[in-house]
Symmetry: C2
DNA sequence: GTCTATACCAAGATAGAC
DNA sequence: GTCTATCTTGGTATAGAC
């Protein structure tokens, strides 16, 4: 039987972040009210402020946590000597990581302008770190003579933009399996940077 | 000398749309108030309702106008027999058209979820038309044996996603000229769909 | 066509009881 | 830790004077 009062502190915090994640992704940060989030969790709006100082912190927490997850997961990938293999590994990692977290990814790209300047700078720095990882791979490949890209920075952004596009259309259970998607994109990326 | 009262009807309408465009692109539809838009134009909030029935119509007008511009401009491009040449032309057109209208483009991608379902469907249909144009080129190329893409639909979305990425970083007067950007992206797209 | 004034409602956030 | 109640602000939209 559902309680309408009393303490739920053991799970409320995470539930608030989950609800905010879902609602921000669905309607956008600015369009979602603290009351909506509270309603989704099943508490009153005032109770949210036991877990977050304000709405902005809620957004920042979600985005920062996502970027931390991304960089941690990526840090677990081993680099080898062969740049082509590193690139193949990056493409697979990127697609899978992002498809597993559509809401987080959506927010991370759409809500940047709703961050305060300080929070924005922090997220941007993390994003830059991730991009530099890929750029390093491309630079290695150019140095090794296995890639031909006129500008590694632009190529980095182009590859990431292309891969991010997957999230806008892929639905599990659809026409293509995850493996097929990965193969298709790897094929295009590989050729795009090829000699 | 600035008037604080009186009729400005000859220019107010377009100025409202310009102000809304700028503010929506900067802060997001949901975060911008009618009062802000009015302030940017230099009228009182109530006056806006002589030009638009509501805020939603303002957004829809901007997005629909942008998609109409896109399709009209694209319709002016001549198709030739050579698929490779058509693709080259498409890439150049897309980059230039979109870089000339960063605010409109930004809104067209970011504010889709703030459209009512009916308005969303209308915009989606126009976007689909544009995508089908590119997909037709890719299909021709595959039929002619000059392109190798495992899936024309996915390749279409991948190419567009890659090209759209330009808008997130390109600034005129920066390190690269528009011609250089176009060359770099054409190089990658060409190779990505090559045999 | 724009103004001032306002109706009406919902926002973020806080206070104090339990 | 959550509730109810409320403060304060600002939102969209409308009415009626000029």
């Amino acid at each position: 039987m559902a309680r309408t009062q009393g303490s739920h502190s053991d799970i409320t915090g995470p539930r608030i972040h989950k609800a905010a994640l879902k609602l921000f992704a669905q309607h956008g940060y600015a369009a979602v009210s603290m009351r909506q989030i509270a309603g989704e969790v099943g508490v009153q709006a005032g109770a949210l402020y036991n877990y977050t100082p304000d709405k902005q912190s809620l957004l920042f927490h979600l985005m920062h946590g996502h970027m931390d997850d991304l960089l941690s997961a990526r840090a677990g990938s081993k680099r080898v000597k062969d740049a082509l293999e590193n690139l193949r590994q990056f493409v697979g990692f990127h697609i899978r990581f992002h498809l597993e977290r559509p809401d987080e990814v959506f927010i991370a790209y759409m809500e940047l302008r709703n961050l305060t300047p300080e929070n924005f700078a922090a997220i941007e720095a993390l994003r830059r770190t991730y991009e530099n990882d890929l750029e390093g791979i491309l630079r290695d490949g150019v140095a090794q003579g296995v890639f031909a890209v006129p500008d590694t920075k632009v190529a980095t952004l182009a590859v990431i933009a292309m891969l991010n596009g997957v999230n806008t259309w892929y639905r599990s259970g659809g026409r293509l399996s995850l493996d097929q998607v990965e193969t298709i994109y790897w094929d295009m990326v590989r050729k795009a940077v090829a000699l």
